[in-house]
Symmetry: none
Subunit: 404 residues, 2 copies
């Protein structure tokens, strides 16, 4: 049976760019391989979640993998924790966190600890512990940002923030907003008491004080979220699935779905990622797995930078790196799309649909010959919402019959 390769070029969709004579980065790029796939395949436009929704990479990848985000997206906490590389499992409670500065009387004087920009990894490392049977894991992010994950029995996300969201007031005691969360609130308050002892005397903070900098002596928690228990991808689809990505949040989602993660040396999730290494790993994995999702982040990075030339160049390098892809069409269904648009003129995600191409040997090819936002609008899958996984399953002749 055919394997499936779902290639997600992150933030692929664009809008017309003045510096590219009104073309999108994809239109302007030299992309013979992508165009070949369009010429021999079926194309269209795709709303990753639904029309008009400006989706994030988290909600969109859930949807692409067949998990309805309205059901499984439980807020930013768990997904940002995954994004920082924490191992988040279904049932865990996750928080977004800041390192802040607390006076002795409990008053918060700075919610960002002077925008601390080093040493937080050392602080985070010393804040992982077990209290009353609950495991706490902390990971530091950019500047003052961090995430906390709690794992144990009888935990609930119905708890308030310890972050007062303003300065000049005391850090808040965490309280339960539902009966089932009493234990969670209790153990969280115990945990925060412990962290204060550690942070107040931590060598990173002693050093900061010596230098006249605000100590990062309070872990301010906000936005408790329950990590979703995703039905296993394999049980849901009968596909043995794997993921290649340099982005911890996406590997986190795939891990939640029970998919294997394939590590590729040189896959950085940045503009300098080794695309050739990724494609080589992907083509190899198609022999072992039924389904492979591969995310390339560079297009999104360039979009957020507002750099249309860099986005065009990234697309050209990706296209070069996929050379030989047409040799896999007899054994595989190949799909290239984006998880959302990141127009360079916006420097952020938009709700514009993304172009999509499906191809494999024997497919009903349509008349579209170029892979870009405008050409694919005349394709045979114009215009779809979600549904990508089901279409891939059917094109690989693996769908269960519905009826007789």
């Amino acid at each position: 049976m055919k394997s499936i390769l779902l290639l997600v070029l992150d933030g692929l969709g664009d809008r017309p760019n003045p510096e590219l004579n009104g073309r999108t980065a994809l239109q302007a790029a030299f992309r013979p391989n992508m165009n070949h796939l369009a010429a021999v395949g079926q194309t269209g436009q795709m709303h990753p979640v639904k029309p008009g929704i400006r989706s994030g990479s988290d909600t969109s990848h859930l949807s692409l993998l067949g998990y309805d985000p309205e059901k499984f997206y439980t807020g930013r906490g768990p997904f940002e924790a995954m994004g920082l590389g924490l191992d988040v499992r279904g049932g865990d409670i996750a928080f977004r966190a800041n390192f802040g500065t607390r006076k002795e009387n409990g008053e918060i004087t700075d919610r960002r600890a002077g925008r601390i920009n080093n040493g937080t990894e050392l602080l985070a490392k010393d804040l992982s512990m077990n209290i009353d049977g609950v495991d706490f894991f902390v990971r530091a992010g950019v500047e003052h940002r961090a995430a906390l994950v709690m794992r144990g029995n009888n935990l609930s996300d119905l708890v308030t923030d310890s972050d007062p969201h303003e300065v000049g007031v005391k850090v808040r005691e965490i309280s339960a907003t539902g009966e089932s969360a009493k234990f969670t609130a209790e153990v969280l308050n115990k945990y925060l008491t412990e962290t204060r002892k550690i942070l107040d005397t931590h060598e990173v903070n002693l050093e900061r004080k010596k230098n006249g900098e605000s100590p990062a002596n309070e872990l301010l928690l906000r936005g408790a979220g329950l990590a979703p228990s995703l039905p296993l991808f394999r049980e849901k689809t009968y596909l043995k699935g794997a993921c290649i990505t340099g982005i911890p949040m996406i590997s986190g989602i795939c891990r939640l779905a029970g998919m294997d993660l394939i590590d590729v040396k040189g896959a950085t999730g940045r503009l300098d990622s080794d695309f050739s290494a990724k494609f080589a790993a992907a083509f190899k994995a198609l022999g072992t797995y039924d389904f492979l999702v591969m995310n390339i982040k560079a297009t999104d990075v360039a979009g957020h930078d507002g750099d249309a030339i860099a986005k065009k160049n990234a697309i050209e390098r990706i296209d070069r790196a996929m050379g030989g892809i047409e040799g896999h069409l007899d054994d595989s269904v190949i799909c290239i799309t984006g998880d959302h648009s990141t127009p360079c003129v916006m420097k952020d995600h938009s709700g514009d649909p993304v172009p999509i191409v499906f191809t494999t040997s024997g497919i009903r090819k349509d008349s579209v010959r170029f892979f870009d936002e405008i050409s694919c609008a005349r394709g045979s899958y114009n215009i779809m919402s979600g549904d990508v996984l089901r279409i891939l399953q059917q094109l690989s002749d693996r769908s269960e019959k519905y009826g007789a």
Copy 2:
């Protein structure tokens, strides 16, 4: 940030007309402004509610404004009451009503009071009153038609009709079909007893009797409906919204949504409406409001008349009146569509989709160059159901991100 103009040409969609050589009214019309917007924008076909649904203006405008009619359309009563210009508020109970003729023994001899065609406004005026804390408001419509609105506490629409729906039988006592409606039924019966006293001795009816005409001495109620409490448009969308329309039902819906109503002198909701005045008001309002919906009824009127030439002429006058609209594309997202099709050959609404164009500066324009039912079927938004508001929000870069 960009403002949004949603221009709804009522009943715009058409089918081929023999007298226009097989073209739709829109295809046949000289429409350089609409075609320009299509040429620089994104086009498509749109099912206002969903494919195959022959929507009314009420269900369709709810959908266009982002209120799912399956959830918020509570039957004809409240919407017809709005259509007669009654101020209907969320929680009100509304009925469609006829003026009928009742004999002394209560038997209904004519459900239309001899198709009475004048004097009903005077009758209606005298039927507004307060009983047991409930306010009753009546407004007369065309011929024998009218509407009743009740406003007060503890009201329910689970009540039967007083209209027996046949002649030669007695008017029905209203009864509750649910426990919660006992008070409503009781106060309605009291109210109808009061109205009978007033109508039996009303000078309009004394005059009719003198002329040998059937008196309009019974207000026959049917189809109780609870007016929906619409979530406020501003709270739902973060858009400050306003409406320009000559149609009371549409202004009623916008009022329920908490939008401002902009009065335009000369806006009649008929073929003779002052389109130029409406566009001038709309362009001005774009400086003050984030979102403006403007309905032009003339296209629907001509469709119901089965007059393809009149429909074509109305479209040409509307196109002329929108001259200069392209000057607003840097500051606004402009959308032209219909609320449903009213094919001249049908003289009624059909379920055919309507053409739609979205445009603004920097949009991904598609290859369609003409604004009509056939050309737009090759557009990049072919084929959409509802979703118009969300797409307008995203094109104006005002959407909240869903995820990160």
